[in-house]
């Protein structure tokens, strides 16, 4: 499967050998690759038209890919962000995911695996941009006003930034409000098989979402558990 037409991809990588071959192979796969070898060069590239996908290295000569992710989230929240790094510690991974990374690939990797991951984050980003069954860009879920266009959740006066995964799960639940959504459906919508998710992954993820949208996460009133099936967004949540 090659990239959808006009898929703009930002590749931020300071190692010339890795970047050269990666850019060439991604171009062969149909991506319009813009290559940056430093934080400064990436920021310059971000000033132009928006990218659909960004592959960011973490350790760079003039800073970190995390800084670029932050800029990217502010300017273009719909861009799917994938970290590509030799720093594979759990702390790095958590930091990357907290900054809104959609996936985290540790070096060395197999090119086909990277391609699958890119396609997966792209598939999720495309789903989030489709109008779907949710009326309007904003949906009320529990205490939060979720803006699927801006990837934010407003709770009172506080605006929380949402990752693409969080948005995808909330959107699926909102589209099927009043009906149970199985764990497999959630996994299929927000994760790719190469991330090796389990049903427990979904449960932990729902715990995080409840902390955001529920008044009392230990006694959820909006995202309800359906024993043996999955989860259901209470009808009339809007």
């Amino acid at each position: 499967m090659s990239a959808p037409p006009e898929t703009r991809l930002l590749l931020l990588e300071d190692d010339a050998n890795v970047a050269g071959t990666l850019a060439s192979r991604l171009t062969t796969e149909g991506y319009a690759v813009t290559y940056a070898n430093s934080v400064r060069a990436a920021r310059e590239a971000l000033a132009g038209p928006a990218f659909q996908v960004a592959i960011l290295d973490v350790g760079l000569p003039d800073g970190s890919g995390f800084e670029v992710a932050q800029t990217l989230r502010d300017r273009s929240p719909a861009t799917a962000v994938l970290f590509l790094t030799a720093y594979g510690t759990p702390q790095d991974r958590i930091r990357g995911l907290e900054l809104g990374a959609d996936d985290y690939v540790t070096k060395p990797f197999v090119f086909r695996e990277l391609l699958l991951r890119i396609q997966n984050v792209q598939r999720r980003a495309t789903y989030l941009q489709q109008p779907g069954a949710v009326q309007g860009a904003t949906s009320r879920i529990g205490m939060a006003d979720v803006d699927f266009g801006r990837f934010t959740a407003r709770v009172g006066d506080k605006v929380h930034r949402l990752t693409h995964k969080e948005c995808a799960v909330l959107k699926l639940l909102a589209e099927r409000a009043g009906n149970a959504v199985t764990r497999d459906e959630i996994l299929d919508r927000a994760w790719s098989p190469d991330e090796f998710p389990t049903q427990r992954t979904v449960d932990n993820f729902i715990v995080r979402l409840r902390k955001l949208v529920e008044r009392d996460p230990s006694n959820p009133q909006s995202i309800l558990s359906v024993r043996g099936v999955g989860y259901q967004l209470e009808a009339g949540h809007e």
Binding site: D15, N17, T21, L22, V110
Partner: protein, 317 residues
């Protein structure tokens, strides 16, 4: 540095707990020592009073009290001073050990990064070649990656050898034409990315050194210029001349130079502002130079690049 100490990572959290317990123990000992000293002084005063009451002449009793108090003050004071000195020494060792443990952890993290990046590249080039794209460019990148891996492994092994007290095989080395051959060989691995200009004084005396160590020093300096200079190609100027009692090798590149304090360069695990490198290359340059009886100074080149001046001892042979 102890080689075992360099390679064994003390769990930092455990060390911190030990330090806190040692601190509490020290405070308890100091308070108890002070309290016992006070009690003894009081008791000696009481004994003096009782002696007077028992009929001992007052002057004799208080002279004895004065002697006892003087002795107690000196002994307890010396004891406390020894204890404080010992504790300060222990805390210093602990702090140094912590720094080293942190440095070792950072080294292993950086080493993993330094090995994973060329490995990624090797895999990418290999996959591309297997997919039917065997261009000369891919093959060149593959060779450059294996060279980077080899260089990293060499540095790590040399670090282990040096820290383990491994001896150098010193001999008289005539730099002309040895240096030209070795430097051209090192630079060739970088293709056109490094451009070398070598000037050798024709009347150079032989120097005292180890050829393997000298090769590693030169390789590290060239690699440092290539990786941290941020220029492509980077121009490296090597000038070797007789400087009175010793031989001086001046190395300078036209890269971006040193960012930060140059006096910190050459310390183990010290990295510049760049996230690249393990902080071992320039350390090995410094230590190997010192082991050969010479020294090295790092600084800025006249054009703003990186510079290193190596002072070699002349051979007595």
């Amino acid at each position: 540095m102890d080689s075992k100490g360099a390679l064994s990572v003390t769990p930092i959290r455990q060390s911190r707990l030990v330090a806190i317990l040692a601190g509490v123990w020290l405070i308890i000992i100091l308070v108890l020592g002070f309290w016992w000293g006070t009690l003894l002084l009081r008791q000696s005063a009481r004994i003096a009073q009782l002696s007077v009451a028992a009929g001992v002449p007052q002057s004799e009793a208080f002279a004895e009290l004065s002697r006892t108090q003087y002795m107690l003050q000196w002994e307890s004071g010396s004891f406390l001073l020894f204890l404080l000195t010992l504790s300060a020494a222990l805390f210093w060792f602990y702090w140094r050990d912590m720094q080293r443990a942190r440095g070792t952890q950072a080294f292993f993290a950086a080493l993993t990064h330094e090995l994973r990046t060329p490995l990624t590249s090797v895999r990418l080039q290999s996959e591309a070649i297997a997919a039917g794209e065997p261009t000369q460019e891919l093959v060149d990148r593959l060779l450059a990656d294996t060279h980077r891996l080899e260089s990293q492994i060499d540095k790590t092994l040399e670090l282990a050898r040096i820290e383990g007290g491994g001896a150098l095989a010193e001999q008289a080395i005539r730099l002309d034409p040895w240096l030209d051959r070795v430097l051209r060989g090192i630079v060739a691995a970088y293709g056109n990315a490094v451009q070398l200009e070598l000037t050798l004084d024709p009347a150079l005396p032989a120097i005292r050194g180890d050829t393997s160590a000298l090769q590693l020093i030169l390789r590290n300096l060239i690699e440092n210029a290539s990786r941290h200079g941020d220029r492509d190609p980077i121009y490296v100027d090597v000038n070797v001349h007789n400087a009175g009692g010793h031989v001086e090798l001046r190395f300078a590149d036209d890269g971006r130079g040193i960012e930060g304090d140059p006096s910190k360069l050459g310390r183990l695990f010290q990295r510049g502002s760049s996230s690249r490198g393990t902080g071992v290359g320039l350390y090995l340059v410094r230590v190997l130079m010192e082991r050969m009886g010479g020294k090295v100074e790092f600084g800025a080149a006249p054009g703003g690049g990186f510079a290193a001046t190596l002072h070699f001892q002349r051979s007595a042979d």
